[in-house]
Protein backbone atom coordinates (compact mmCIF):
# COMPACT_ATOMS: atom_id res chain seq x y z
CA UNK A 1 0.00 0.00 0.00
CA UNK A 2 1.31 3.46 -0.82
CA UNK A 3 1.96 6.05 1.88
CA UNK A 4 -0.90 8.13 0.45
CA UNK A 5 -3.49 5.34 0.79
CA UNK A 6 -2.29 4.40 4.28
CA UNK A 7 -2.72 8.05 5.28
CA UNK A 8 -6.15 8.29 3.64
CA UNK A 9 -7.42 5.22 5.50
CA UNK A 10 -5.93 6.07 8.91
CA UNK A 11 -7.06 9.72 8.83
CA UNK A 12 -10.49 8.68 7.51
CA UNK A 13 -11.15 6.09 10.21
CA UNK A 14 -9.85 8.39 12.95
CA UNK A 15 -11.93 11.35 11.77
CA UNK A 16 -15.14 9.33 11.48
CA UNK A 17 -14.58 8.21 15.07
CA UNK A 18 -13.84 11.74 16.32
CA UNK A 19 -16.94 13.13 14.64
CA UNK A 20 -19.00 10.33 16.21
CA UNK A 21 -17.86 11.05 19.78
CA UNK A 22 -20.64 13.56 20.43
CA UNK A 23 -23.67 12.43 18.38
CA UNK A 24 -23.11 8.67 18.90
CA UNK A 25 -21.00 8.23 22.02
CA UNK A 26 -21.78 10.96 24.47
CA UNK A 27 -25.40 11.86 23.80
CA UNK A 28 -26.26 14.19 26.70
CA UNK A 29 -23.14 13.99 28.84
CA UNK A 30 -20.56 16.80 28.79
CA UNK A 31 -16.75 16.78 28.65
CA UNK A 32 -15.02 18.12 31.77
CA UNK A 33 -14.73 21.88 31.07
CA UNK A 34 -10.95 21.91 31.64
CA UNK A 35 -10.48 19.18 29.01
CA UNK A 36 -12.86 20.87 26.57
CA UNK A 37 -11.01 24.17 26.86
CA UNK A 38 -7.69 22.39 26.38
CA UNK A 39 -8.94 20.66 23.22
CA UNK A 40 -10.24 23.98 21.87
CA UNK A 41 -6.66 25.28 21.86
CA UNK A 42 -5.32 22.46 19.67
CA UNK A 43 -6.64 24.02 16.43
CA UNK A 44 -5.00 27.44 16.84
CA UNK A 45 -1.68 25.88 17.93
CA UNK A 46 -1.47 23.48 14.98
CA UNK A 47 -2.74 25.93 12.36
CA UNK A 48 -0.16 28.51 13.47
CA UNK A 49 2.55 25.86 13.19
CA UNK A 50 1.31 25.02 9.69
CA UNK A 51 1.50 28.69 8.65
CA UNK A 52 5.15 28.81 9.78
CA UNK A 53 5.94 25.50 8.11
CA UNK A 54 4.23 26.31 4.78
CA UNK A 55 5.64 29.85 4.66
CA UNK A 56 9.24 29.36 5.83
CA UNK A 57 10.26 25.70 5.95
CA UNK A 58 12.31 24.28 3.12
CA UNK A 59 13.16 20.77 4.25
CA UNK A 60 14.91 21.40 7.56
CA UNK A 61 15.89 24.98 6.78
CA UNK A 62 13.93 28.14 7.47
CA UNK A 63 14.06 30.42 4.42
CA UNK A 64 12.45 33.71 3.41
CA UNK A 65 11.28 33.56 -0.19
CA UNK A 66 8.34 34.48 -2.42
CA UNK A 67 5.95 32.58 -0.15
CA UNK A 68 6.22 35.41 2.38
CA UNK A 69 4.59 37.74 -0.17
CA UNK A 70 1.77 35.21 -0.47
CA UNK A 71 1.24 35.16 3.29
CA UNK A 72 1.35 38.98 3.36
CA UNK A 73 -1.24 39.27 0.59
CA UNK A 74 -3.35 36.65 2.33
CA UNK A 75 -3.11 38.55 5.61
CA UNK A 76 -4.27 41.75 3.90
CA UNK A 77 -7.19 39.87 2.37
CA UNK A 78 -8.09 38.44 5.78
CA UNK A 79 -7.95 41.94 7.32
CA UNK A 80 -10.25 43.19 4.55
CA UNK A 81 -12.67 40.39 5.55
CA UNK A 82 -12.41 38.91 2.05
CA UNK A 83 -13.93 35.47 1.47
CA UNK A 84 -11.63 32.47 1.83
CA UNK A 85 -11.20 31.88 -1.89
CA UNK A 86 -10.01 35.49 -2.35
CA UNK A 87 -7.39 34.91 0.37
CA UNK A 88 -6.14 31.80 -1.43
CA UNK A 89 -6.05 33.46 -4.86
CA UNK A 90 -4.31 36.57 -3.44
CA UNK A 91 -1.72 34.30 -1.82
CA UNK A 92 -1.08 32.45 -5.06
CA UNK A 93 -0.87 35.58 -7.23
CA UNK A 94 1.48 37.42 -4.86
CA UNK A 95 3.77 34.40 -4.54
CA UNK A 96 3.85 33.76 -8.28
CA UNK A 97 4.30 37.49 -8.99
CA UNK A 98 7.29 37.92 -6.69
CA UNK A 99 8.82 34.72 -8.09
CA UNK A 100 8.51 36.10 -11.64
CA UNK A 101 10.13 39.41 -10.70
CA UNK A 102 13.14 37.90 -8.95
Amino acid sequence: MSAAWATVIAVGVGTVALKAVGPVGVADRQLPPRLASLLAMVGPAILAALVVSEAFAHGRALVVDARLAGVGAGALAVLARAPLWVVVVAGALATAGVRLLR
Partner: protein
Protein backbone atom coordinates in the same frame (compact mmCIF):
# COMPACT_ATOMS: atom_id res chain seq x y z
CA UNK B 1 -32.81 20.52 5.03
CA UNK B 2 -33.75 22.74 2.08
CA UNK B 3 -33.20 25.79 4.28
CA UNK B 4 -29.74 24.44 5.08
CA UNK B 5 -28.88 24.06 1.39
CA UNK B 6 -29.89 27.70 0.88
CA UNK B 7 -27.98 28.92 3.95
CA UNK B 8 -24.85 27.09 2.83
CA UNK B 9 -25.02 28.16 -0.83
CA UNK B 10 -22.77 31.25 -0.47
CA UNK B 11 -20.00 28.97 0.81
CA UNK B 12 -20.13 26.59 -2.15
CA UNK B 13 -17.77 28.49 -4.50
CA UNK B 14 -15.18 28.83 -1.74
CA UNK B 15 -15.39 25.16 -0.82
CA UNK B 16 -15.15 24.17 -4.49
CA UNK B 17 -11.99 26.26 -4.80
CA UNK B 18 -10.53 24.89 -1.60
CA UNK B 19 -11.35 21.35 -2.66
CA UNK B 20 -9.55 22.02 -5.93
CA UNK B 21 -6.53 23.37 -4.01
CA UNK B 22 -6.47 20.24 -1.88
CA UNK B 23 -6.68 18.09 -5.02
CA UNK B 24 -3.69 19.87 -6.57
CA UNK B 25 -1.65 19.69 -3.35
CA UNK B 26 -2.48 16.01 -2.89
CA UNK B 27 -1.25 15.18 -6.40
CA UNK B 28 1.94 17.13 -5.75
CA UNK B 29 2.36 15.06 -2.56
CA UNK B 30 2.23 11.79 -4.52
CA UNK B 31 -1.46 10.98 -3.92
CA UNK B 32 -3.27 9.35 -6.83
CA UNK B 33 -6.41 11.15 -7.98
CA UNK B 34 -8.58 8.37 -6.52
CA UNK B 35 -6.88 8.55 -3.12
CA UNK B 36 -7.42 12.32 -2.99
CA UNK B 37 -11.12 12.02 -3.89
CA UNK B 38 -11.71 9.13 -1.46
CA UNK B 39 -10.07 11.14 1.30
CA UNK B 40 -12.38 14.11 0.68
CA UNK B 41 -15.46 11.86 0.62
CA UNK B 42 -14.60 10.02 3.84
CA UNK B 43 -12.59 12.44 5.99
CA UNK B 44 -14.47 15.60 4.89
CA UNK B 45 -12.41 17.94 7.06
CA UNK B 46 -10.42 20.37 4.94
CA UNK B 47 -7.64 21.66 7.15
CA UNK B 48 -6.68 18.17 8.33
CA UNK B 49 -6.55 16.85 4.77
CA UNK B 50 -4.37 19.75 3.64
CA UNK B 51 -2.16 19.20 6.68
CA UNK B 52 -1.78 15.47 5.97
CA UNK B 53 -0.88 16.09 2.32
CA UNK B 54 1.44 18.91 3.28
CA UNK B 55 3.36 16.82 5.85
CA UNK B 56 3.55 13.83 3.51
CA UNK B 57 4.69 16.07 0.64
CA UNK B 58 7.42 17.57 2.83
CA UNK B 59 8.78 14.07 3.48
CA UNK B 60 7.39 13.79 7.01
CA UNK B 61 6.20 10.19 6.73
CA UNK B 62 2.87 8.47 7.33
CA UNK B 63 2.83 8.60 11.13
CA UNK B 64 3.57 12.32 11.30
CA UNK B 65 0.97 13.05 8.60
CA UNK B 66 -1.75 11.01 10.32
CA UNK B 67 -1.03 12.34 13.81
CA UNK B 68 -0.99 15.98 12.61
CA UNK B 69 -4.29 15.51 10.74
CA UNK B 70 -6.05 13.75 13.62
CA UNK B 71 -4.83 16.31 16.15
CA UNK B 72 -6.46 19.00 14.01
CA UNK B 73 -9.67 16.97 14.05
CA UNK B 74 -9.73 16.44 17.82
CA UNK B 75 -11.85 19.60 17.90
CA UNK B 76 -14.71 17.55 16.46
CA UNK B 77 -15.04 15.73 19.78
CA UNK B 78 -16.04 18.85 21.77
CA UNK B 79 -17.87 20.32 18.75
CA UNK B 80 -19.94 17.15 18.42
CA UNK B 81 -20.64 17.12 22.14
CA UNK B 82 -22.11 20.63 22.00
CA UNK B 83 -24.80 19.43 19.56
CA UNK B 84 -25.12 15.79 20.63
CA UNK B 85 -28.58 16.33 22.13
CA UNK B 86 -30.04 17.23 18.70
CA UNK B 87 -29.21 13.87 17.11
CA UNK B 88 -32.00 11.31 17.33
CA UNK B 89 -32.71 7.80 16.13
CA UNK B 90 -30.59 4.72 15.64
CA UNK B 91 -26.83 4.69 16.17
CA UNK B 92 -26.14 4.07 12.47
CA UNK B 93 -28.19 7.10 11.51
CA UNK B 94 -26.51 9.29 14.14
CA UNK B 95 -23.10 8.05 12.94
CA UNK B 96 -23.93 8.98 9.34
CA UNK B 97 -25.35 12.38 10.23
CA UNK B 98 -22.40 13.13 12.50
CA UNK B 99 -20.11 13.00 9.44
CA UNK B 100 -21.82 16.14 8.09
CA UNK B 101 -20.72 18.16 11.10
CA UNK B 102 -17.93 20.42 9.83
CA UNK B 103 -16.92 23.84 11.14
CA UNK B 104 -19.11 25.70 8.66
CA UNK B 105 -22.25 23.56 8.98
CA UNK B 106 -21.95 23.61 12.76
CA UNK B 107 -21.53 27.40 12.88
CA UNK B 108 -24.28 28.24 10.36
CA UNK B 109 -26.76 25.99 12.16
CA UNK B 110 -26.19 27.83 15.44
CA UNK B 111 -23.80 25.33 16.98
CA UNK B 112 -22.92 26.02 20.59
CA UNK B 113 -26.17 27.98 21.10
CA UNK B 114 -29.64 26.90 22.19
CA UNK B 115 -30.90 27.64 18.65
CA UNK B 116 -28.96 24.77 17.03
CA UNK B 117 -31.02 23.36 14.13
CA UNK B 118 -30.00 19.87 13.04
CA UNK B 119 -31.85 20.15 9.71
CA UNK B 120 -29.96 23.29 8.74
CA UNK B 121 -26.71 21.58 9.73
CA UNK B 122 -27.54 18.58 7.54
CA UNK B 123 -28.50 20.78 4.58
CA UNK B 124 -25.33 22.87 4.78
CA UNK B 125 -23.27 19.70 5.31
CA UNK B 126 -24.70 17.90 2.27
CA UNK B 127 -24.19 20.92 0.00
CA UNK B 128 -20.62 21.41 1.18
CA UNK B 129 -19.84 17.68 0.90
CA UNK B 130 -20.69 17.69 -2.81
CA UNK B 131 -18.75 20.93 -3.34
CA UNK B 132 -15.72 19.60 -1.45
CA UNK B 133 -15.62 16.22 -3.22
CA UNK B 134 -16.36 17.80 -6.64
CA UNK B 135 -13.70 20.46 -6.14
CA UNK B 136 -11.19 17.82 -5.10
CA UNK B 137 -11.92 15.83 -8.26
CA UNK B 138 -11.30 18.91 -10.43
CA UNK B 139 -8.07 19.74 -8.58
CA UNK B 140 -6.83 16.15 -8.59
CA UNK B 141 -7.32 15.92 -12.36
CA UNK B 142 -5.73 19.36 -12.96
CA UNK B 143 -3.01 18.44 -10.48
CA UNK B 144 -1.86 15.70 -12.79
CA UNK B 145 -1.06 18.46 -15.27
CA UNK B 146 0.31 21.00 -12.77
CA UNK B 147 2.90 18.79 -11.14
CA UNK B 148 4.85 21.55 -9.41
CA UNK B 149 2.67 23.58 -7.02
CA UNK B 150 5.27 26.31 -6.75
CA UNK B 151 4.78 27.10 -10.45
CA UNK B 152 1.55 29.02 -9.79
CA UNK B 153 2.42 30.25 -6.33
CA UNK B 154 0.32 27.49 -4.80
CA UNK B 155 2.82 26.95 -2.00
CA UNK B 156 2.31 30.55 -0.90
CA UNK B 157 -1.44 30.11 -1.30
CA UNK B 158 -1.46 27.24 1.20
CA UNK B 159 0.36 29.34 3.77
CA UNK B 160 -2.28 32.05 3.24
CA UNK B 161 -5.05 29.44 3.52
CA UNK B 162 -3.77 28.14 6.85
CA UNK B 163 -3.49 31.75 8.05
CA UNK B 164 -7.13 32.41 7.13
CA UNK B 165 -8.26 29.20 8.86
CA UNK B 166 -6.21 30.17 11.90
CA UNK B 167 -7.82 33.61 12.15
CA UNK B 168 -11.29 32.03 12.35
CA UNK B 169 -10.15 30.20 15.50
CA UNK B 170 -8.59 33.19 17.30
CA UNK B 171 -11.72 34.03 19.28
CA UNK B 172 -10.03 34.46 22.68
CA UNK B 173 -6.76 35.66 24.18
CA UNK B 174 -6.01 32.09 25.14
CA UNK B 175 -6.36 31.01 21.52
CA UNK B 176 -3.95 33.77 20.47
CA UNK B 177 -1.47 32.59 23.12
CA UNK B 178 -1.77 28.99 21.89
CA UNK B 179 -1.24 30.13 18.29
CA UNK B 180 1.83 32.21 19.19
CA UNK B 181 3.23 29.26 21.10
CA UNK B 182 2.54 26.85 18.24
CA UNK B 183 4.23 29.13 15.70
CA UNK B 184 7.27 29.53 17.96
CA UNK B 185 7.62 25.79 18.53
CA UNK B 186 7.38 25.14 14.79
CA UNK B 187 10.03 27.75 13.98
CA UNK B 188 12.44 26.48 16.64
CA UNK B 189 12.03 22.78 15.81
CA UNK B 190 12.06 22.97 11.98
CA UNK B 191 15.88 22.94 11.70
CA UNK B 192 16.22 20.35 14.49
CA UNK B 193 13.69 17.60 13.69
CA UNK B 194 12.39 15.70 10.64
CA UNK B 195 9.49 17.35 8.74
CA UNK B 196 6.12 16.82 10.42
CA UNK B 197 7.46 16.65 13.97
CA UNK B 198 7.31 20.45 14.52
CA UNK B 199 3.59 20.43 13.65
CA UNK B 200 2.81 17.70 16.18
CA UNK B 201 5.03 19.22 18.86
CA UNK B 202 3.19 22.53 18.42
CA UNK B 203 0.22 21.03 20.28
CA UNK B 204 2.29 21.46 23.44
CA UNK B 205 1.36 25.14 23.08
CA UNK B 206 -2.18 24.37 24.29
CA UNK B 207 -0.62 24.63 27.73
CA UNK B 208 0.17 28.29 27.02
CA UNK B 209 -3.52 28.88 26.38
CA UNK B 210 -4.61 26.70 29.28
CA UNK B 211 -2.58 28.30 32.05
CA UNK B 212 -4.32 31.61 31.35
CA UNK B 213 -7.73 30.06 31.93
Amino acid sequence: MRKGLRVGAPLVPAVLALGASFGVLARASHFGATAAIVMSATTFAGSSQVAAASVLGAGGGIVAAVVAALLLNTRYAPIGITVAHAFLGRRARRLAEAQLVVDESWALAGGGTARFDRHVMLGVGVGLWFAWVGGTAVGALLGGVVSDPSAFGLDGAFAALFLALLVTQLGSRRAVAAAAGGATIAAVLTPLTPPGVPIIAATAAVVAGWRRA
